[in-house]
């Protein structure tokens, strides 16, 4: 997703990915959507290693979800592979894949949109899409606070490491107790930072219930319109397919079938 694409289209792309993976359930279609989000990521000319690094928690959750489905559905359906009483079954693999593909697609779309769109563009787009200003501001400010909170987190970790804390050592309970040493300062700093920011915003005449303008003019170009038409058509096709009984998880792979 190039930086030249209208931010409203980017936000709608995000919504489109979310809706498509919610409406459709067939693993092959989900794989197709996944490929599409990867292709969009490539087209955005973002650094792939950076994307992988930023989303590592999401990739981990997707992987674990897939594994859990395989474990939970080990006795259902046709076994692809058996090891003793344990089997890797078709429902386990395909249901797990569907969940993982949904997570990865949505996460990838989020990363691409937010990495190619400034906070103000996001806010302007949300405002132009008739999303209420308080909601748009919450999203904008959250995005603005992420790098600052990351820096605060790193500083607090360093401050506590300087007091001989070894966060990686000890049993789970001990580790949890050690984490209190950075969670409390982090929460207090977050409150202080947001309180200061709200003062600064108020002092700059911010009032979520007043009419505001945006100095940034948004205008759809041909590419934007083409993308909107494409997304609308595919979404309508997905709805029609589901109403016609297509695009769902095949019966033989359904969990509990």
């Amino acid at each position: 997703m190039e930086r030249g694409v209208d931010p409203r289209v980017k936000i709608l792309y995000l919504a489109w990915v979310f809706l498509m993976v919610s409406v459709l359930a067939h693993p092959l279609i989900l794989l197709l959507i996944l490929f599409l989000t990867v292709a969009v990521a490539f087209a955005s000319r973002l650094s792939l290693p950076a994307l992988v690094k930023t989303g590592r928690l999401g990739w981990f959750i997707a992987g674990v979800s897939w594994l859990l489905w395989i474990v939970f559905l080990r006795h259902q359906g046709h076994a692809l592979l058996s090891v003793g009483s344990w089997g890797i079954t078709e429902p386990g693999v395909f249901n797990g894949f569907s969940v993982a593909a949904r997570i990865v697609s949505i996460l990838l779309a989020c990363l691409v949109v937010f990495k190619t769109t400034s906070t103000r563009e996001v806010m302007t787009a949300l405002y132009r899409l008739r999303i209420p200003v308080p909601f748009a501001m919450v999203i904008g400010i959250t995005l603005r606070l992420i790098p600052q909170m990351q820096a605060e987190h790193a500083t607090i970790l360093e401050a506590q490491r300087s007091r001989a804390v070894e966060f990686g050592k000890g049993n789970l309970l001990v580790r949890l107790r050690k984490h209190v040493a950075y969670i409390i300062p982090l929460v207090l700093r977050a409150l202080k930072i947001t309180s200061d920011l709200s003062l600064a915003m108020e002092a700059r005449a911010f009032d979520p219930y007043r009419r505001r303008t945006f100095s940034q003019a948004l205008r759809f170009n041909v590419l934007d319109v083409a993308l909107l038409v494409l997304m609308s058509l595919t979404f309508m096709a997905a709805i029609a397919a589901r109403l016609a009984g297509l695009g769902g998880m095949p019966l033989q792979w359904l969990a509990g079938a």
Partner: protein, 543 residues
């Protein structure tokens, strides 16, 4: 704040000073309507700003007339580019796009940031960030600018840039400036009136020269005198000064024509307990952050037992990054750092915590316990000390903090100075040989800063080695016996305090301003040198 009566005329430059908690910030919040609209509490009386009653006018409406700038520049950043940030307020009041563009351009030009319009505000220097905050306020085309201690976290160059911008705005555009500032030598050259506050009341308002002349009054309200004022005041107490007390170096020079600066009776050096024993050694150390930014370049230095070192240099020079190598928080990309002869690469931060204590600039990053006692015990417990040893160490450390009765006090509800002292004590309790402190006095008022620095000085006299990262030349001159100046990640100057401060031209090239007293001494006698008020007073005599 109580019983405050104050009238500010159009085009004035008002400086407000007083100790922490005297009501300075509250007064600022009352001027732009945040009080009574955004804070709890009860407001009596009336505040009229530009003909508007702040009680009846909303904060957004007052923002068109009163620009507001907070102490911490980063907490005010809203946009992801300089341009966006400046436009934010104008969008809030619903101005059309073309007018916003014009005003943004004009405001950025005024604060000399027009070339940075597309830059991320996070990449600006401290001084530039504060100038951006001023631009965002100026874009409203306000009649008045209110600034709450905006220079507190800036390096000397950032401070100069900011003060020059404000002076220009006040002089050329007629913008009324109301500024809280603890450093009188920075603000008084520009101020038309000085307001002194104490215990929520205004205790004196008037011409800066007249108020400075009542030095006792300033000292009583916990305000630090400019160094040249201190010199003249001490001479006055010895009945050697007859005229008014100056606050500018130029005025002091003019008034001291009949004084001569004598050669000191003997070559003085900073009080030092330093021994030859090296505790920390850096050999050809360089450090590159993962994003490729090279911050430390081929640094070699040794820190010896008993030294009190001031690590100085402009914002972004690499001082904190360098200091973080001393306790292994960072390890060099090339070269090595040895602590007690051991390479920091092979010893973790936890292992080094018993040798090198590190106190961060903001105690909020460090303190988390509900009582001082628990806070102090945290480090020793992490080091695996036995219970009895931990208890004994907590007992003896509490004595330094005011006695056993403070054990159950909650650090969260203490003032900044107290919290800084608890943070220092919680590092000291681990019995380190070296204590590294990042800006120990920043943000504290004069009395609190003195308390912290005197505590550190006592520790150093008892044999502790101290490394202090600071912008404050006066603190460095008065407490450190060695100064290391860092520029672009390299050591530019390193030597005894007197030797370093003597090299005025090189200091300036490293963006460090020498102490006022040094400039005064050099003007009186270029061949002689001093960097401390007490020494200068000793060396002065009537011609």
């Amino acid at each position: 704040m109580q019983g405050v009566d104050l009238e500010i005329g159009a085009g004035e430059f008002i400086a407000i000073a007083g100790r922490a908690g005297s009501g300075k910030s509250t007064l600022c919040y009352a001027l732009n309507g945040l009080i009574p609209h955004s804070f709890g509490g009860r407001m009596e009386g009336e505040v009229m700003v530009c003909g508007l009653d702040t009680r009846k006018t909303s904060v957004p409406d007052l923002a068109r007339h009163v620009g507001f700038v907070l102490q911490n520049a980063e907490s005010q950043l809203v946009g992801l580019s300089v341009e966006e940030d400046t436009a934010f307020g104008l969008e809030n009041i619903g101005l059309p796009g073309n007018e916003i563009a014009g005003r943004v351009h004009s405001a950025l030009r005024t604060v000399r940031l027009e070339g940075q319009a597309r830059s991320s505000p996070w990449n600006l220097s401290g001084g530039q960030k504060q100038r951006l905050a001023i631009a965002a306020a100026l874009a409203f085309q306000p009649e008045m600018l209110v600034l709450d201690n905006p220079t507190a976290e800036l390096d000397p160059v950032g401070k100069q840039e900011l003060m020059a911008t404000l002076a220009q705005l006040n002089r050329e555009s007629g913008v009324t400036v109301v500024m809280v500032n603890q450093e009188l030598e920075e603000v008084l050259p520009y101020a038309s009136r000085l307001v002194l506050m104490d215990h929520g009341r205004i205790v004196r308002v008037g011409n800066p020269a007249e108020i400075i002349d009542s030095a006792e009054e300033l000292l009583n309200v916990g305000v630090k005198l400019p160094e040249v004022t201190q010199v003249a005041y001490q001479l006055r107490t010895r009945e050697q000064w007859r005229g008014p007390l100056p606050f500018r170096v130029e005025d002091a020079i003019g008034q001291m024509r009949d004084f001569v600066l004598l050669t000191p009776p003997e070559e003085r050096s900073s009080a030092s307990n330093a021994t030859a024993e090296t505790l920390i050694e850096m050999e050809g150390a360089s450090f590159v952050y993962p994003n490729g930014t090279k911050v430390i370049r081929n640094v070699s230095l040794a820190i010896r037992r008993g030294e009190f070192i001031a690590l100085m240099g402009p914002n972004g020079a690499g001082k904190t990054t360098l200091a973080k190598h001393f306790n292994g928080l960072l390890v060099p990309t090339t070269g090595q750092v040895l602590v007690g002869g051991r390479d920091t690469r092979s010893s973790g931060v936890a292992q080094l915590a018993g040798k090198v204590g590190y106190v961060f600039q903001n105690p909020d990053h460090q303190l988390f316990s509900r009582t001082i006692e628990e806070e102090l015990a945290f480090g020793p417990k992490n080091l695996g000390w036995e219970k009895a040893r931990v208890e004994s160490a907590v007992e003896s450390t509490l004595e330094h903090l005011g006695g056993r009765q403070r054990a159950r006090d909650d650090p969260y509800f203490m003032g900044l100075a107290e919290r800084k002292l608890v943070a220092i004590a919680s590092a000291l309790i681990m019995e380190p040989e070296v204590l590294v402190l990042d800006e120990p006095a920043t943000g504290a008022d004069h009395e609190a800063a003195l308390r912290i620095m005197n505590y550190l000085s006592t520790l150093q006299r008892r044999g502790l080695t101290i490394v202090m990262v600071t912008h404050d030349v006066s603190l460095a001159a008065n407490y450190a016996n060695r100064v290391i100046v860092v520029r672009d990640g390299s050591v530019a100057l390193d030597g005894r305090t007197e030797e370093v401060f003597r090299r005025v031209t090189e200091l300036r090239s490293c963006l460090v301003t020498p102490p006022q007293v040094t400039l005064l001494a050099q003007a009186l006698n270029p061949s002689l040198f001093t960097c401390r008020v007490s020494e200068m007073v000793e060396q002065l005599a009537r011609a």
